[in-house]
């Protein structure tokens, strides 16, 4: 009982730290492009992180809880309990240290490293599900690339369909609703297929209906906007409104993926303690996801404002059409990864998306030197969290 209370406290603390720190990175482009104020970002994130966690969080949580370590091969529920706890603690230690040193680390990489460390210490190399781990590592490499490619395509589409038209403002009022419709098509379809486990036909039908409603509503709303200013200013104003929606999308996707970093091991501890069964297919209780979502929301609501304000003030050279492309690409990549149960870093995906828009000539100057930090994050975070987790496991057992 003490362990479960402790696990809940630690898991909630981890979720709180994700909310306080990490959410600002995912919302940075919307705040930086002045689509939303830091206060609005806090409000959006508080609601949408929770919704994403509860509605889509189960897939990645399952991977963290049971996908990386082959629990059947350990076959000792006490070891698994201590191991899950060690992974969580190791991850928190690394995130705290990295924050103190000012290093950009991913909680996703920390928790994966933590789980690998406990697995190795508990049962050696055979216990690790190398295929799943390889898939996860591959998605870490691929996700910034997909985010970048998607952002490139979206920005080029905006460029071709709006910016290069004779009347960009008029074109923006038609194209932006299409892109917003597409956003809701993706969310609706994936929700029906992956979360409700319904067939693809129904998923597409719900997706199309949702997309059509969003298209009509946003078309009516954007059409009312005045057209008396400079054409490009109107385009940016249209995308300023559209970016409010994509900032919600980013927040929702972030909650869906990152909640697992906090509640993955917690879910495992809870399931073992309540069912004593870890061999069959596990079901993540919704209230555990809700607890993680609540932790993230509370972190954002209490400490997130200051970080969002700093980020917003520092990013001055980003306009809304570019911000929209970045947000759309990053959120879509993260949400897709979430539905496939792949834990990825939202921050790294955003970096990939920013570079993608940069390569599409959307941003004048991009500091691509920052990409090396992503690689450092992979090579430092995972081994460190794994070693600390293994040591903790050995000490506690």
């Amino acid at each position: 009982m003490i362990l479960i209370i402790l696990a809940f406290i630690v898991g909630f603390g981890m979720a709180f730290s994700i909310g306080a720190n990490d959410v600002a990175n995912s919302m940075s482009t919307a705040v930086g492009a002045k689509a939303i104020t830091p206060k609005q970002a806090v409000l959006i994130a508080s609601i949408l992180e929770f919704s994403g966690a509860v509605l889509f969080g189960t897939h990645v949580t399952k991977t963290i809880a049971k996908g990386i370590v082959n629990l059947e091969l350990i076959n000792n529920s006490n070891y698994i309990l201590i191991g899950a706890f060690s992974a969580l603690i190791a991850s928190i230690i690394w995130v705290l240290l990295a924050t103190y040193w000012g290093m950009p680390v991913s909680t996703t990489h920390s928790i994966v490293g933590g789980m690998v460390g406990f697995g190795l210490a508990a049962g050696g190399f055979n216990v690790i599900n190398w295929i799943v781990l390889l898939k996860i590592v591959l998605t870490w490499v691929i996700s910034p690339l997909i985010g970048g490619a998607l952002a490139f395509v979206i920005f080029k589409f905006i460029s071709w369909s709006i910016l290069h038209r004779k009347h960009p403002a008029k074109a923006a009022k038609l194209v932006a609703p299409i892109l917003l419709g597409l956003t809701f098509y993706i969310i609706g379809t994936l929700f029906v297929i992956k979360t409700l486990k319904e067939n693809m036909g129904l998923g597409n039908l719900i997706g199309i209906i949702t997309a059509f409603i969003v298209f009509v509503l946003s078309f009516i709303f954007l059409h009312k906007m005045s057209s008396d200013k400079n054409e490009y200013s109107i385009v940016e104003k249209v995308f300023k409104n559209a970016q409010i929606v994509t900032s919600c999308y980013v927040s929702f996707s972030h909650g869906a993926n990152d909640v697992a970093n906090a509640v993955g091991p917690l879910a495992l501890i809870y399931i073992i303690l309540t069912t004593q069964n870890f061999s069959s297919e596990i079901t993540i209780p919704t209230y555990i996801l809700a607890l993680g979502g609540l932790g993230i929301s509370l972190g954002v609501a209490t400490l997130g404002h200051k970080v969002m304000k700093t980020v917003g003030e520092d990013i001055t050279e980003l306009n809304n059409s570019r911000g929209f492309s970045i947000d759309f690409a990053a959120a879509t990549t993260v949400l897709l990864a979430s539905t496939f149960g792949m834990p990825i870093s939202t921050t790294h995906t955003v970096v990939g998306a920013v570079s993608g828009v940069g390569f599409a000539r959307g941003i004048e100057v991009v500091n691509v030197g920052i990409l090396k930090n992503i690689i450092i994050s992979w090579f430092v975070t995972v081994p460190f969290a794994a070693i600390v987790s293994a040591i903790l496991f050995l000490i506690l057992t």
Binding site: N25, F155, H164, Y232, I315, S355, R361, E364, N367, N373
Partner: protein, 223 residues
């Protein structure tokens, strides 16, 4: 402390810096007709030099910022050399206006025929026009970038370039005409004044030439 994502972006966009720098060129250029009026009315023009010095120092600050952006940030679609060359050419405009004022303070031309004075004033206005168009061209560059190099905006930039080229050619024609008028006065005017006036005309023509260099460079990089 800057965070991970923030470091991806420049603190200020290079085209915005070019535009801010061009504003100082414009302010210096705007003084040319006023300086010529004051000079031919026999007033002291040294105060203008002090004003231009101030612009020069503020423009230098912008130049340093631009250089820093290109040193720290690795990837950009405008080549570092192009951006620095544009700002260097803009810089030479302020320098040339400053030189022009300083030269004016060195000598006082007496008994200059009214026709020459009027033509030199016209030349001053033409040069100011070139700088004004150059500023427009730099501002248009921002729109070209914002529109992701839309053909419409590139066409507008092209048109400004043609206007500057036309202005520069008019400046040259007028400069030559004034030169001829000045040397026709070889039997009436002091030889030192003749050479002095001719130098003033050449300096003004050079300013217009520098403005043309800026727009030509801009035209090259948006192609």
């Amino acid at each position: 402390m800057k965070r991970f994502i923030d470091r991806l972006f420049p603190e200020i966009s290079p085209t915005k810096l070019l535009s801010e720098h061009a504003e100082f060129c414009f302010k210096s250029g705007k003084l040319i007709p006023e300086i010529l009026n004051s000079y031919f009315e026999g007033k002291d023009v040294l105060k203008y030099s002090e004003e231009i010095d101030k612009y020069e120092s503020q423009a230098d600050g912008i130049k340093t910022k631009l250089r820093e952006i290109y040193t720290k940030l690795k990837w950009s679609y405008f080549d570092r050399i192009d951006a620095l060359e544009i700002i260097h050419n803009q810089d030479t405009i302020i320098d040339a206006v400053d030189d022009f004022v300083k030269v004016l303070t060195m000598n006082k031309v007496e008994d200059c025929p009214e026709e020459i004075i009027l033509k030199i004033k016209d030349l001053g206005n033409l040069v100011y026009g070139s700088i004004k168009l150059m500023k427009m061209s730099v501002d248009e560059l921002k729109l070209v970038v914002e529109s992701d190099f839309s053909p419409e905006e590139i066409l507008k930039e092209d048109n400004i370039t043609f206007d500057v080229e036309f202005d520069e050619s008019s400046t040259d024609k007028l400069g030559i005409e004034i030169g001829r008028l000045i040397f026709k006065q070889k039997n009436n005017l002091n030889p030192v004044d003749l050479i002095f006036l001719n130098n003033i005309v050449i300096l003004l023509m050079k300013i217009s030439d520098k403005a043309e260099n800026v727009v030509e460079r801009i035209r090259m990089i948006i192609r």
